[in-house]
Symmetry: C2
Subunit: 76 residues, 2 copies
């Protein structure tokens, strides 16, 4: 089975990477880019029978820094 | 309007970040993690009327290195 985890900085946490991307897009002539947030996506191939609770545990223990990051899990 | 872009290393391109995550999950006792690929997710807030073609152009010019990375676009 597969799981996809998104890890994003929480709202209110400064995102310098996103700001740099927004700036660079403007410099390349792309107008109308109002806000950019950059995060991580982690695709996991898991043994059959792995539960969403286990994936949540992986996020809490390793994949996300829950002080400043939020995560979401999609099982596929 | 919003767009979400996923940028992943192409299959066959070594993903040392993904390998490190897989190894760390194993060390934490999570068995059955067979493969991990890590990529970037970029959330864009765009002016109304921005087209998917423009977002594709942003990917080609800045967001993805299309030699080694593939990207996908979701408009929301």
């Amino acid at each position: 089975m597969k799981a996809r985890v998104h890890v994003m900085l929480k709202n209110g946490v400064l995102d310098p990477q996103g700001a740099a991307v927004r700036h660079a897009l403007g410099a390349l002539g792309f107008d109308g880019v109002e806000r950019v947030r950059q995060g991580k996506v982690i695709d996991l191939d898991l043994a059959e029978g792995t539960t969403e609770a286990q994936v949540r545990d992986m996020c809490e223990k390793l994949l996300a820094n829950t002080v400043i990051e939020s995560y979401s899990i999609e099982l596929g």
